[in-house]
Amino acid sequence: MAEVSVTKDAAPAADELVVLKNVNKHFGALHVLQDIDLTIARGEVVVVIGPSGSGKSTLCRAINRLEGIDSGSITLDGKPLPAEGKELARLRADVGMVFQSFNLFAHKTVLENVTLGQIKVRKKSKAEAEERARALLDRVGVGTQADKYPAQLSGGQQQRVAIARALAMEPKVMLFDEPTSALDPEMINEVLEVMQQLARDGMTMVVVTHEMGFARSAANRVVFMADGQIVEQATPEKFFTAPRSDRAKDFLSKILHH
């Protein structure tokens, strides 16, 4: 089932940025990722959907080794991800990650959250880092909140700061692990709009989400996962109108008919 071929219309073909080959992962007895093969091209926006427990978050976290894998390989821009150490830290800086629960550094101001990695990892000067941070905060629409602490911001604002923090590292690819799942309904759109804009600007993105509207409008490809496997992948158009697998049909019937 995993070898379903996909015709992509927007993404360039040969330029492979993230390549997962034969990736397996267990949590105890649970085989949470089963022989995952997935290639993400530069500039492509891939939305991963599926029922809870299907392994989609684990897949997302495996791409920057926040979760280790048991077997298989993950390469980023041609380089395999090392298991630990300095080299891994360097590669992680090239992969932006946005979490469900924002995870902003609570003891630092919004501005400091966005400058920390630039100064400590990218070795930029404080002034340079702050300039870039302010520009990014403006871009995600929270420029006026720069001197506040995360706890003083709404969820939607915090998540936009988290996106700015990831972007500050000038990542090659951005991973979004259910970025809107912890948000109040009225704040979901402000975050999705920022993500839409990123997608339009050509950022390579892997987005785990339950937002089908976002998948339809921004994705180049939808990857449907269930029980640790990639069951089906297709363009959003194809996937939402004519899913091939019964598992996907069942999933879509449950979420779309309300």
Partner: protein, 222 residues
């Protein structure tokens, strides 16, 4: 009423107590933090060492440790702390070493409980932007951990202040040694004990109040 105190260096003895507290307090804070870092590190050997250290050291009576520094480290192994012929200085430095080594075990556990109050997600986010283990710890986790354990660390500091009296066991001229001397020489037990008790309260009470205020000020809002 206090005439009998003439000729005794009361302030000097308490000054030694303060110095013992400050030096061993700094040592314990540094070494205890390193131990806490070991206990949360990804390296099994370091975790094992940290756990072993804490469980051995905090279960040995302080008197045993202090006496060992003098009779064991100094007399048998020749660790005279750069003061071989000055018994007072040597005793002081050995006491600082023993007190710091002992108190570090308690600092470690306080800091480790503070580390556990920092949401795991923040450490993950820090790793995700490319920070290494030491950076994650020193830039993100520990600053928040310390803010949440000012209270427990204050307890450790107050206990340390009073524990310095054990240094009397190896002849360091701090408050408790002088108290013993006065009690043995003068017939003024109640007044003497009251004076020294008050002396320690004067040292520890403001410390507790001040650090309590600091703790509230630096608390991380979540």
């Amino acid at each position: 009423m206090f005439d009998f105190l003439e000729g005794y260096d009361l302030l000097g003895s308490f000054w030694t107590t303060v110095q013992l507290t400050v030096f061993s307090g700094i040592g314990a804070l540094v070494w205890g933090t390193v131990l806490a870092a070991m206990r949360v590190s990804p390296v099994p050997l370091m975790r094992g060492f940290g756990t072993l250290y804490v469980n051995v050291v905090r279960n040995i009576p302080l008197t045993v440790i202090i006496v060992f520094t003098s009779l064991g480290l100094a007399d048998i192994f020749g660790m005279t702390m750069g003061a071989a012929d000055d018994f007072q200085t040597q005793g002081f430095r050995l006491s600082v070493l023993g007190l710091a080594a002992y108190t570090a075990a308690f600092v470690c556990e306080a800091v480790r409980s503070g580390i556990n109050t920092v949401p795991v997600g923040q450490a993950e986010a820090a790793r995700a932007i490319g920070l290494n283990f030491t950076q994650v710890l020193t830039l993100v986790v520990l600053p928040q951990a310390f803010r949440s354990v000012v209270g427990p660390l204050t307890n450790v500091l107050i206990a340390l202040t009073k524990n310095t009296t054990v240094a009397a066991a190896i002849g360091v001229a701090e408050a408790a040694l002088l108290m013993k001397e006065i009690i043995e020489t003068e017939a003024q037990l109640i007044v003497t004990v009251a004076i020294f008790a008050l002396g320690f309260i004067i040292l520890t009470l403001p410390t507790g109040i001040f650090l309590g205020w600091i703790g509230k000020r630096v608390a991380v809002k979540r």
